[in-house]
Symmetry: C2
Subunit: 185 residues, 2 copies
DNA sequence: CTGTAGTGGAACACACGTGTTCCATGACGG
DNA sequence: CCGTCATGGAACACGTGTGTTCCACTACAG
């Protein structure tokens, strides 16, 4: 039984990637557009994902894996809470258009249902070690981080000339200041 | 020629209000849902706004007026740049679901095409008087404010028990810290 | 060469939102 | 009471997205 799934997996991945890219810009995107962007016929798309919901589930899965990978790269256990949070910001920022997708699902918490508890634990560590203002609730700090991530990503998208590193610097400065609280140097 | 438009204006306003409320939650909302929320028939809605675009234009007009009113209440000329910016945050926060609507139109700048220059001028005043970190570009500060406004509004919506004043306090603390820069007390 | 896997185009039925027309009903002032 | 006004329901045609079926084409292994 040879593994002919090499081609299938490649096609499937192309569809999911195109879906993430297009859904980020337009959540009401049609399957035809996604198929065209993936350079695949609409028939083929339906062969991999019978219903729209199936594709959405695959997109959610892929997004969740990317988030988990980024969180692992951030080494959340290292340094103060604020330092870990800023490392996470930098890793998440590299996720690109996926940010819009995660953020637009304000209420659809399906995304980081597993991630968020870990991030909130980092914030509480920051509360304890004094690097994060204890007045700010952990879930507030998390939503603050996400809204700034989204703002930074769209800021970058609206200014074709802007450097990715420059915007990332603005983002980390802003989050660091917002979280630090009024007491520090 | 008696002014029978009392009823008409009331109906029209009810439709626009319902549209703002529903479009904030779901930008792809159908006209039928809007009509139902406004407690009018779909026929009546079409009598006031022939096409969907006409209703959208009316919503944009109403939103623009509310934004202008809030900016006037904030007395942007008074105090330091940072103080004026925080007053504006508080007034904007009271706009409620309109925040989602304005924010979701990331690229559709039709909203504050008149407002934004004024706000950016406030930020530059803050740059000059030392109340806002000059390292942060004015348009960055504006997008920072909007993303935090949106985050605060959805934070409030997701926590039915949370006090509006408490969330507003979190918002102003966060924005004040983010904008203040690393140098101050 | 032959069979199979992966693909894509064409066509269809269905659901939904939209914009329109027509007609009936209730309210209000003359 | 009667005419007008604002309204809402029913029905229709149209466009678009969706999910399905059927068939033809290409690449590749045996």
């Amino acid at each position: 039984m040879r593994v002919t799934t090499g081609t299938k997996n490649r096609t499937r991945q192309a569809i999911v990637d195109a879906a993430i890219e297009l859904l980020a810009g337009n959540p009401a995107c049609s399957l035809g557009e996604i198929a065209a962007a993936a350079q695949v016929g609409r028939t083929t798309l339906h062969r991999y994902f019978a219903e729209r919901a199936d594709l959405m589930a695959a997109v959610a899965d892929e997004g969740g894996e990317r988030l988990t990978r980024a969180a692992r790269l951030a080494e959340l256990d290292r340094g103060t809470g604020a330092e870990a949070l800023l490392r996470l910001c930098r890793e998440y920022f590299d996720l690109g258009s996926l940010l819009s997708l995660v953020f637009s699902e304000q209420t659809g918490d399906c995304w980081d249902a597993q991630e968020e508890p870990g991030v909130e634990a980092v914030v509480r560590r920051g509360h304890a070690d004094g690097s994060i203002d204890p007045v700010l609730p952990a879930d507030w700090v998390v939503s603050l981080m996400w809204s700034q991530l989204y703002a930074a990503w769209s800021y970058l998208g609206e200014r074709p000339g802007a450097s990715r590193h420059y915007v990332l610097d603005l983002l980390t400065r802003t989050v660091a200041n917002a979280v630090r609280g009024p007491g520090a140097i």
